[in-house]
Symmetry: C2
Subunit: 124 residues, 2 copies
């Protein structure tokens, strides 16, 4: 059973965390041919935190987990904090394969998306 | 003359700010039929700040400026700080039209892009 775990920073604002949950649901509906489970977890300030997110997927039967950092820049969270949290989760579940994807801001589609958003605004 | 100003948060890490400048160059090459000028500015921690970014575009002849907040969540920066900075810039340049687009995280293409990134990671 394969799983996708979207990692966001987490916010003190409940609405920001709800945005991530809504986005996760949108991704789940698009990715259901590739992932049996699609959930989100937060680096800090919101729940579930990364270890709990991984535990939840493993409890549901996940054997492989792709972790996608939903961050725009390769700051300390992407370089250090998420890999460290994932390494701990991997150590806790040695029989599960956990893969960390590139962070969202590095996706090739980002410049296209940003261009599209800007052009749409000229029609406002 | 029409301009696009991409607003990022700004970071103490020079590399993160350079990432934004590289992204801005990529957007410029895609958006050149729609915008004569494409530049970036930062909310804090890096230069140019928003007022300087707007001034630079106006000095180069921009009559209309689309501002795109390159942020993932509708936090205080997107709700309050960027609109405030733009309102000040607008007041300083009453003959220029400044439009703020939706923030990047709200772009319709984001769930598709995130899904694509996750699926690509399964092939790693």
């Amino acid at each position: 059973m394969s799983a996708l775990l979207i990692i966001a920073h987490g916010s003190r604002r409940a609405e920001s965390n709800e945005e991530i949950k809504a986005l996760t649901a949108q991704v789940a509906s698009r990715a259901n041919e590739h992932f049996d489970l699609v959930e989100c977890a937060f680096l800090e300030l919101a729940e579930p935190l990364i270890p709990d997110g991984v535990n939840s997927l493993v409890d549901q039967g996940a054997k492989s987990i792709v972790v996608v950092p939903y961050f725009l820049a390769k700051g300390a969270h992407v370089r250090d904090d998420i890999p460290e949290a994932v390494a701990l989760a991997q150590a806790a579940h040695p029989n599960i394969t956990i893969t960390v994807s590139n962070y969202f801001g590095a996706a090739e589609i980002v410049p296209d998306a940003l261009t599209e958003l800007a052009i749409a605004a000229t029609a406002q």
